[in-house]
């Protein structure tokens, strides 16, 4: 059995920021986007639609690769690096 993606992310060291470093313009996702590229490309499986069909991102587990930012054709993401001492801290890689 392959390891669950959550378990894999659980191996990484994250320092949690107080506020999200990725903000989604959910109106764009709702009205313009039909391809949901973010869902497919994110290597940490952070994007999903909630019960109301709004796109959400579990930014706490972000690996900071920026792939979603480059792959969103609809400019729905405001994407910054986490501030100061926060975000993923790779010990090996």
């Amino acid at each position: 059995m392959p390891m669950k993606i959550d378990a894999k992310l659980g191996l990484d060291v994250f320092k949690l920021d107080k506020e999200p470093h990725i903000v989604i313009d959910t109106d764009v996702c709702k009205t313009v986007c039909t391809d949901e590229a973010c869902v497919y490309v994110c290597p940490a499986d952070l994007y999903e639609r909630d019960d109301q069909g709004r796109m959400t991102v579990n930014w706490e587990g972000c690996l900071e690769c920026g792939t979603c930012l480059m792959c969103c054709d609809h400019k729905a993401l405001t994407w910054k690096y986490p501030s100061g001492p926060f975000g993923v801290q790779y010990r090996m890689s």
Binding site: Y40, Y81, Y90
Partner: protein, 429 residues
Amino acid sequence: MEQVECIIVGGGLAGLSAAYGLASAGVEVMVLERGDYSGAKNVTGGRLYVKPIRGFYPELWEELPYERPIARELVTMMGDGAHTTIEIASDRFAGAKPQSYTVLRAKLDQWLAEKVTEKGAMVVPNMKVDELLRKDGRVIGIRAGGDEIGAQVVIVAEGVLRLLSSEAGLAAEPQAKHHALGYKEVIELPSGVIEDRWHLNPGEGAAQFFMGACTKGMMGGGFLYTNKESISLGMVVGMEDMRRRRDGTESWQLLDEFKELPQIKPLVAGGVVAEYSAHSVPEGGISQVPKLAGDGYLVAGDTAGLSLNALVTVRGMDFAIASGYFAAEAVKRAKKAGDFTAAGLASYEASLRNSFVLKDLETARAIPGFMENPRLFTHYPVAVSRLLESIYTIDERPQAGLFKKAWRGLRRDFMNVATVKDAWSMRKI
């Protein structure tokens, strides 16, 4: 506003290499790194080609905290229930002066940061730069949180995403079509097991690439590098292919499926996953290299798009270190002349053009376009394996002669309009 001679944005290999050169020459330099330490935000596949950069800071590379010198290169073409592995081994790959080493960035970058600190530069961790400050078109410093620091010159080595430099209008925003996603697991295995599985002498290492079925037709492939007591196993997949794909496979699942393949499973058996990481990779080649210098600034490393995926050789860290070296040389010259304008810093681009960095990228100009050909990742790995499988197959029927078997396979898979066109396009790479 506090003022220093040189600010370096980003304490990765490009930034640290520049800092080392500048601090050695007594230039006042401050490196701002957003991670807990240098390397905390970095990911490599991992191999550093050290041969191209041995001439820069020769005293450093003797102490390089490498994992293993790479003695064996393997390429596996994955077909339909059959695969072919080519192994290239040479006494000259490893030996007394190895051409390349496997590395892990947290260790490598922290070591280089220490060396830089010993030379008298300041490396400040946990310092995320929020803005490049400009005045009359000239970069005059940085803003980090509420603090502003001025500098005569800023070396922008902020990494592949170019968030600051694109915001400041120094470089274009990175686009999916010019980038790949690289992601990997570091899987711990005892060193003896690694040496047995890849037939290595003690301490030596191997690099293995996988092309074909593992990316489901998308540009890219799998990779495997042996570290001291772990392997780095991952994939690189073109972003444009990935986001256009609609069969329901998500990127992270692709790696899980790769690990379950019968060719891979025995290689990772008994291994313990220790870390999972991901990073964007510049793949646009020389056509995507931005303006390298302007009034008060230089760009280096991934920010400058300095990486080269030539299918079986993948380079970037050697370019990053070289660009840092040349950035330091240019800043030293500019300081001497008291001229930090674009004209005063112009020797940077000239040095890169005269070195292997832009020469090799220029030579490889056609490669990014060539790699857009999906047959590289679908037809050929299958065809090579099918041809060789037929040669090695014996069944109850009378067998065709060796030549006839080979000829049949060649005619079927390699002699048609598409493959002739592909062969013709290969002359440019």
